[in-house]
Symmetry: C2
DNA sequence: GTCTATAAAGGGATAGAC
DNA sequence: GTCTATCCCTTTATAGAC
């Protein structure tokens, strides 16, 4: 059967993301990987080590992919559209990932803190410079790069994290969720650009 | 000593929020409440029942408080400012609450699904009507209430959920966090209002 | 109501055969 | 590499004294 280590990692990823570290059971991971518990420990010494492998792999997979072009010299508006579009597509394929990562950081910072250097490089100074150039052209007041980044990330990621509540509160049926996400690809850049464009000079 | 049940609930809330249901230990709750494990089971039959009590109480406490004025007939811009301001203040006092609630919904929907009716009433139709009136006056194209609500909630709540990553990526020191939140009280309404104001008619 | 002691089950980890 | 059997610690839950 196809390589065991790969199957274990895939199964572990599935269970850890669905249940979190504390809720995950080695037995369930073994069952899904179609092996027994003992073999888990043969490949990865402990639950901690297995989690570490999964978490590291996940961050390496998702981190750089997204931010690769953020530091590149392309027009601001294009950058925003591209970022939102790509990010939503990626998370659509891994909708539970953001909450999983954020929650593990929360409940056990010590366990994951070592890997947080891996993803998420962002040249804030360069981005702030690009923002300054943009607002200069538009003759509007400056935009703080911190709030710029937080606004975009928030509006892009939060709908996935809060999906059940969003669906309930706003009466979005599961069939309409995909359409809703497509709308957001348009709405988010629009919201950001409009914010920048009429930000009155004081 | 002050009423035991209250101390248990307070201790349980603290531990459940910090560690999640799966990570929480009855022993730790007992220690913090300065009683022994047996007494926990005397007051609340099981860990599940105790969690249920805590979760329900938490939702009841936070849900209606926030949305009480959202359905009221006050000007849109005032409503936005007030909402963001009050919401940020409330979460500042319970910064771990949003992630806790969202994660519990995620890892165990069955356990919490019954209580989700409690909070979060929102008259979306009325709010959509108010938005329509606003864009009519401004002669801009209509705003979808779904994205309106999601945008505001996202930008308000997400910074708390992603605090460690925000701090790291954007180099916000702990001392500056409070200031950062104060800035957001101004930035979020501004972002939303600007979005509405120059949303071009097609 | 509150305690100590202990049962009962769960779950991570290991030994040892093949 | 893979399995079965089992160890042993942790954790929830209960029994029973005071």
């Amino acid at each position: 059967m196809a390589n065991t280590e790969g199957r274990i990692l895939a199964a572990a990823k599935e269970v850890f993301i669905a249940k979190g570290f504390d809720g995950a059971r080695m037995q369930e991971i073994a069952d899904i990987a179609k092996i027994n518990k003992a073999l888990l420990h043969y490949y990865f010494r402990s639950k901690d080590k297995l989690f570490e492998a999964v978490f590291k792999e996940t961050l390496l997979q998702i981190g750089p992919m997204v931010l690769s072009f953020v530091n590149e010299p392309i027009p601001l508006e294009v950058k925003i559209w591209k970022f939102v579009d790509e990010y939503i597509e990626i998370i659509k394929n891994n909708p539970k990932l953001p909450l999983f990562i954020l929650n593990e950081i929360h409940v056990n910072p010590e366990r994951v803190i070592n890997f947080l250097n891996i993803g998420a490089f962002l040249d804030t100074d360069a981005l702030q410079a690009q923002l300054n150039k943009e607002t200069e052209v538009l003759s509007t007041s400056r935009i703080d790069v911190k709030h710029f980044v937080v606004n975009i990330l928030s509006m892009t990621i939060f709908p996935f994290i809060g999906k059940p509540i969003m669906q309930k509160t706003l009466k979005i049926k599961e069939d309409d969720w995909e359409k809703f996400l497509e709308e957001r690809k348009r709405i988010i850049p629009q919201t950001i650009m409009n914010w920048i464009k009429i930000n009155q000079k004081v």
